[in-house]
């Protein structure tokens, strides 16, 4: 009886095709020159392949042709938002190769400067994340605070973005007089401002609905892709026994072992109920809480600085010894590794400098994270990975 089709239902034969959308190298929200080729079925993504190399600046070839200390400015330009941390990673690798001892004062200055740069980098990450998702105010607020940090850096080393301040053996110059007071004033100014950012973004229900449950990253996938930094920490769960994976805690370098801070790992009691551990919101919130930890670290460094022993820089050896050294440091985007090979014929030019960047490993997840989401979620996911193309392409 029911073989005749219901006359109230009208069916059209609709043929759908897949679209290849090119989110090209020039795009307001790809955080630099990243090209994403999206295979979409309407709005739903079935595949997102990242193409990189549009900023490949041959840093590793340059590393084989200039002396170790001449390479420091090139490390600045890799992750240009956290240039001090890049300098620190490379300097530690060369110092490990040479077997140098760094005086305590240099280590304290390095910690203060690196953490201050971490605050600046996370501010940019937060501001541009808001910009990608459509709000302009957090960007302006973040850059307002960042300009003050850049003023402090300009007093220390003369540059606003590419510092080359942390060199092999320590830091280039001692801190100028009065700088520690100005830094303390800045930190006191910044602490209540963090609450403004939470109101603007973290607890904003539009932001939450655009980032909660988007781009969920399971822990085993993160480890298999060698993710690190806030990308990995946003997927860990302290209550289920995951370690606090922060290289400053696990393999302390530059005196971090003596400081009192915690690695930020979920679960967070203040997380909105819609969000799940491993989504974009948690990665963003890890970065926000890391800013507070960095402020604590800066203040502890400031207390140690007046009584620290030694000078600001150790003497340099004449040439690099043979051998190789690989050092990873915790940069704002993850673990940045530098592998330096020295020549057996005594020379100050290394045989090979390899920079392994955290954003390279984090970006490899882009394909898996973007499957099944809408095109409008791509800026949310790519923004939460927090990539810097200078680091990926070197």
């Amino acid at each position: 009886m029911a073989t005749v089709a219901d006359p109230t239902i009208v069916e059209f034969d609709v043929r759908t095709d897949e679209m290849l959308v090119n989110m090209g190298p020039q795009h307001p929200s790809t955080h630099g020159v990243l090209r994403l080729v999206l295979r979409t079925d309407g709005e739903v993504i079935s595949e997102a392949v990242p193409h990189m190399g549009y900023l490949h600046r041959c840093a590793e070839k340059i590393g084989e042709n200039v002396t170790a200390i001449q390479f420091i400015p090139y490390t600045d330009r890799m992750d240009y938002l956290a240039a001090m941390n890049m300098n620190l990673g490379y300097a530690l690798a060369v110092e490990k190769l040479c077997g140098m001892e760094i005086p305590e004062k240099a280590q304290v200055i390095r910690v203060i400067i690196a953490e201050l740069n971490r605050i600046a980098s996370h501010l940019v990450g937060m501001g541009t994340y808001g910009l990608d998702l459509g709000t302009f105010s957090p960007f302006l607020y973040a850059f307002r605070e960042r300009e003050m940090i850049l003023d402090l850096f300009e007093e220390v080393c003369g540059a606003r973005l590419t510092y080359s301040y942390i060199t092999i053996g320590g830091v280039h110059d001692d801190l100028p007089s009065g700088w520690t007071q100005r830094l303390q004033e800045f930190l006191d100014y910044l602490k209540p401002r963090i609450e403004e950012y939470h109101t603007l973004l973290t607890r904003n229900h539009i932001f939450v609905s655009r980032t909660a449950k988007i781009g969920i990253l399971p822990k085993h996938l993160a480890i298999s892709h060698a993710c690190s930094g806030p990308m990995l920490r946003g997927s860990l769960n302290r209550t289920s026994g995951d370690p606090d994976w922060d290289l400053r805690k696990i393999e302390p370098y530059s005196g971090y072992g003596a400081y009192d801070f915690r690695a930020i790992v979920p679960p967070f009691p203040e997380a909105p109920p819609e969000s799940v551990i491993g989504d974009c919101w948690h990665r963003f919130y890890v970065r926000m809480l890391e800013v507070i930890e960095s402020i604590k670290l800066c203040e502890q460094g400031l207390k140690r600085y007046p009584t620290a022993q030694g000078t600001h820089r150790a003497d340099l050896p004449k040439h690099l010894p043979a051998g190789e050294a690989y050092v990873e440091t915790e940069c704002p985007r993850g673990q940045m590794g530098f592998y330096v090979v020295g020549r057996p014929s005594k020379d100050s030019v290394p045989l090979r400098v390899r920079a392994k960047s955290s954003s390279f490993c984090n970006l490899s997840l882009c394909d898996e994270l973007c499957r099944g989401c809408l095109i409008a979620d791509i800026p949310a996911i790519v923004g939460s990975i927090d990539i810097v193309m200078g680091e990926i392409d070197r």
């Binding site: 307001p28 900023l55 600046r57 041959c58 340059i62 042709n65 200039v66 240009y80 938002l81 960042r146």
Partner: protein
């Protein structure tokens, strides 16, 4: 503007019309977001609140080249990216201007010697109007570059026939007078 160009003899009326059109153009140069590398961050800082580029009228960064008339190439251009730079330049409508921001775009920058993949200066790819050196240039330097472009616009004579192109006269050079108590002119 297409049918108006080169149509009139030089006279008082066309001069003030040109001045009015050039003033409108220079006060609303809309740049295209073309930040490639580290200089892009300084470009963003120029657009932020301390070194506000919007007070020059150039604050509306358009993402699409079809609506922009200024391309600030901020960052290193390499061989893979060069074809895209040229294509985006071709997509911009006339009159268009290019600022080469940063040492890498001026002549290869720090990657000049061993950069096998770096274009030694973006003027090998697009015609450049103003070069702003620096690594990265300070936001004030980029604003001065923008002011030079504005001077160039001020000197444009599109409406008159047989125009001779004059060199643009820099105004608002950024030289400030010292206050009188420090020895400057009163």
């Amino acid at each position: 503007m297409g049918w108006l160009e080169g149509r009139f003899e030089e006279s008082v009326i066309t001069t003030s019309l040109e001045q009015a059109i050039n003033w409108a153009r220079q006060s609303s140069m809309w740049p295209m977001t073309f930040g490639l590398a580290c200089c892009a961050i300084e470009m963003m800082a120029t657009g932020a609140s301390r070194f506000d580029i919007d007070r020059f009228g150039a604050g509306a960064f358009r993402a699409t080249p079809r609506q922009a008339d200024l391309m600030i190439v901020a960052g290193t251009v390499n061989y893979k990216m060069a074809s895209r730079v040229r294509r985006l330049y071709n997509q911009m409508p006339d009159p268009k201007f290019v600022i080469a921001m940063g040492a890498c775009t001026c002549g290869g920058g720090p990657y000049y010697k061993y950069g096998y993949n770096v274009v030694k200066g973006v003027d090998l790819v697009v015609p450049v109007d103003v070069y702003v050196p620096g690594c990265p240039p300070r936001p004030e330097a980029l604003l001065e570059g923008l002011m030079r472009i504005q001077d160039k616009v001020r000197g444009m004579k599109d409406l008159t026939k047989n125009q001779q192109t004059d060199l643009p006269i820099p105004s608002r050079t950024g030289y400030t007078l010292l206050p009188a108590e420090l020895g400057g002119a009163v």
